[in-house]
C-alpha cells in the first residue's frame, strides 16, 4: 500500500482552525491571551467546541461555516467588549478572518469527512496552514542541508517525505512546558516496479501530534522546531547504504536526540538570520519558541528535568564542541561545512541488519569520546587528532572507524 499523508479529522480541524486563527490574531494585536477579556473569549470558544461535539462531527457542515459559527458563538460571551481596546480590535479582525476563510479557496475540493479529505488537506491545507507551512520549511531546509553538505547523501537512497498530522489525548512529551505539540517519524517502504525490476523506496512519515483543545500560540510557533527536529534528526536516518532496510529504533538514541538536535536548532537559527537555506524563511518568534523547548529538553539542571535530559545534553555538548573545534581549525565557513558534513553523514549511516543496535551504540561512543575529548581540561589527544584528520580528509566513515577504535582502546585501558 502506498504511504499517503494522514491528517486530523474534519471535526478536529474545525476546532483547531478556530483556535489557531484566534491565537494568531490575538498575537498580531499584541493581546495577551491569558488576560481578560481574551481569556474569557478563548474559554468560551473551547466550551463551544466541547459542548458541540456532535455538531462539529456533522460532516455535512463544511469547515469554513463551522469556524464562523464557533467564532460567532464565542463572540456573544457577555462583558468581553469595551474593556480593552486592543482586544476589541482583535475580535473584529478574528471575525473578519473567520468570514474570509473559504474552503473552496483551498484545494478546489471541499472536505466532507470522507477518504479524499487527507489528499485535499495535503495539497494545501488552509485549515492547518501554520502546521503545513512549518512542515514545508523543515522539509525544504533539511533537503537543502543534506543535499549540500552530506557526501554520503549522494550515494544514499532518497527518501520520500510524507507529512501527517494527528490528534493525541495526552501531552506528547514529558517536558515541564505547556507545549501541546510533539513529533514522531515512521519508517516505511514503498514498492516500486519498473518493467521486470522491483525495488523499494524508503519513506519517512513525519507526524505532528497535537492536543487540540489545549493548543496555544507558543505551541503553534514551536511546531517549526519540532518539525526541524523530526526532519533533520530522523527523516534521513539510516539511508546509507541504500540497500539496507531501515528498522524502527528500539533503543533510545542520544546521538540523534542530542547531537543532531543541536544541529537542527543551529540550522533554525542560521535560516532565521538569512544564512542557512535559500527560499526558507523562519521568523524570530518561531526561533524563540523552538529555543525554549530545545533548552528545556536538554537541561538536566532544572527542577523537573526531561527524561534523558542529561544524555541529550551530552549529545548537544559534543555537537557544539565539534563545531567549535572545526571552526577554530579551518575557519568559520569551512569549519561549519565540515561540521555539517560529519554530523549529517553520521546520521545517515545505517545499522547492520545482523546487529541493528550496533551503530547506535557506536554513535553513543562517538558522542562520549568527542565530548570527553573536547570539553574536559584533560582533552584526549587522540580525539583531537582524529577530528583534525577528518577535517583535512572529509571522510566521515574513516572518522567513525577511528573514533570507534580509540574508544575501544580507552575502554580496555579503563578495565
Amino acid at each position: 500500500m502506498a504511504a499517503t499523508p494522514r491528517h486530523l479529522s474534519l471535526a478536529h480541524r474545525k476546532s483547531l482552525a478556530s483556535l489557531a486563527l484566534t491565537d494568531r490574531i490575538l498575537a498580531e494585536f499584541h493581546v495577551d491571551s491569558n488576560t481578560d477579556p481574551a481569556r474569557s473569549f478563548r474559554n468560551s470558544l473551547k466550551d463551544q467546541i466541547r459542548l458541540n461535539k456532535e455538531t462539529l462531527e456533522n460532516n455535512a457542515t463544511p469547515l469554513d461555516a463551522a469556524v464562523r459559527w464557533l467564532i460567532d458563538e464565542a463572540s456573544s460571551t457577555p462583558n468581553i467588549l469595551g474593556q480593552d481596546e486592543g482586544f476589541d480590535g482583535a475580535l473584529t479582525a478574528i471575525k473578519r478572518a473567520a468570514a474570509s476563510l473559504k474552503c473552496i479557496d483551498c484545494s478546489g475540493s471541499i472536505c466532507n469527512g470522507g477518504a479524499a479529505d487527507d489528499e485535499i488537506v495535503a495539497t494545501r491545507g488552509l485549515c492547518i496552514s501554520e502546521f503545513m507551512a512549518a512542515a514545508e520549511q523543515a522539509r525544504r531546509a533539511s533537503e537543502h542541508y543534506y543535499g549540500t553538505y552530506s557526501s554520503l547523501y549522494r550515494e544514499a537512497g532518497k527518501p520520500r517525505l510524507v507529512f501527517s498530522t494527528a490528534m493525541v489525548i495526552d501531552r506528547p512529551h514529558s517536558y515541564a512546558l505547556e507545549l501541546e505539540v510533539g513529533g514522531k517519524t515512521r519508517f516505511l517502504q514503498e514498492r516500486s516496479v519498473r518493467g521486470q525490476q522491483q525495488s523499494f523506496v524508503p519513506v519517512s512519515e513525519v507526524i505532528l501530534q497535537t492536543r487540540i483543545r489545549e493548543l496555544n500560540r507558543s505551541s503553534v510557533l514551536a511546531s517549526t522546531y519540532v518539525l526541524f527536529h523530526e526532519f533533520f534528526c530522523h527523516a534521513f536516518q539510516y539511508l546509507h547504504p541504500e540497500d539496507a532496510s531501515r528498522v524502527e529504533l528500539q533503543e533510545w538514541d542520544y546521538f540523534s536526540e542530542g547531537w543532531m538536535d543541536h544541529l537542527a536548532i543551529d540550522a533554525l537559527e542560521e535560516i532565521c538570520t538569512g544564512k542557512g537555506a535559500p527560499d526558507v524563511v523562519v521568523t524570530s518568534d518561531q526561533l524563540a519558541a523552538g529555543k525554549e523547548v530545545h533548552l528545556v529538553r536538554s537541561n538536566p539542571y532544572v527542577e523537573n528535568p526531561a527524561p534523558h535530559a542529561a544524555k541529550i545534553r551530552m549529545g548537544v555538548d559534543a555537537s557544539r564542541e565539534t563545531r567549535r573545534f572545526l571552526t577554530k581549525l579551518l575557519g568559520e565557513a569551512e569549519g561549519r561545512e565540515a561540521y555539517l558534513a560529519l554530523s549529517l553523514d553520521l546520521n545517515l549511516m545505517n545499522r547492520s541488519p545482523e546487529d541493528p543496535d550496533r551503530v547506535v551504540e557506536d554513535r553513543h561512543r562517538v558522542v562520549n569520546m568527542v565530548r570527553s575529548g573536547l570539553t574536559t581540561k584533560v582533552g584526549k589527544v587522540e580525539v583531537c587528532e582524529a577530528l583534525c584528520d577528518y577535517a583535512y580528509r572529509k571522510d566521515s566513515l574513516k572518522f567513525f572507524m577511528d573514533i570507534k577504535a580509540i574508544s575501544f582502546i580507552h575502554l580496555s585501558l579503563d578495565k
Binding site: 500500500m1 494527528a166 493525541v168 495526552d170 507526524i207
Partner: protein, 107 residues
C-alpha cells in the same frame, strides 16, 4: 491480538464508530486497498463483528484498559487486514493517535 484503549475513551463510542466505518467501507464503490470480492464474505456482518472487542482487564498502565480482538471466523485474514489498515487508523483519527495502543500478546 491485544490492544489497550485509553481510559478517557468510551468503549460504546468505539464500537459505534467501528459500525459506521464498516458501513462506509462497504458503501465505497472502490475501496482503497481492498477488493470488493474480498469484502463480500464479511458483508453481512457489522463492524464490531468483523473485529470484536472483548474486555480483558487493565492494561500495562492505569490509563488503559486491555481488549482482546476477536476476528470474524469467516475470512479471518481479511478481517484482520480490515482491522489493521482501515478500522484502526479510522479509530485513531477520531479518538486520538494514543487512544488505542497495541499490547504485546500474553505468553
Amino acid at each position: 491480538m491485544r490492544i489497550a484503549i485509553h481510559e478517557k475513551i468510551d468503549i460504546g463510542d468505539v464500537r459505534a464508530e467501528m459500525d459506521r466505518a464498516w458501513k462506509d467501507l462497504l458503501a465505497d464503490p472502490a475501496p482503497s486497498g481492498f477488493s470488493a470480492a474480498a469484502l463480500d464474505e464479511l458483508r453481512p456482518l457489522q463492524g464490531r463483528q468483523v473485529a470484536g472487542l472483548q474486555a480483558e482487564g487493565h492494561g500495562l498502565d492505569p490509563l488503559t484498559i486491555a481488549y482482546l480482538i476477536a476476528f470474524a471466523p469467516v475470512a479471518a485474514e481479511i478481517a484482520k487486514d480490515v482491522w489493521t489498515n482501515f478500522l484502526l487508523p479510522r479509530l485513531r483519527k477520531k479518538f486520538g493517535d494514543d487512544a488505542i495502543r497495541d499490547e504485546p500478546d500474553r505468553r
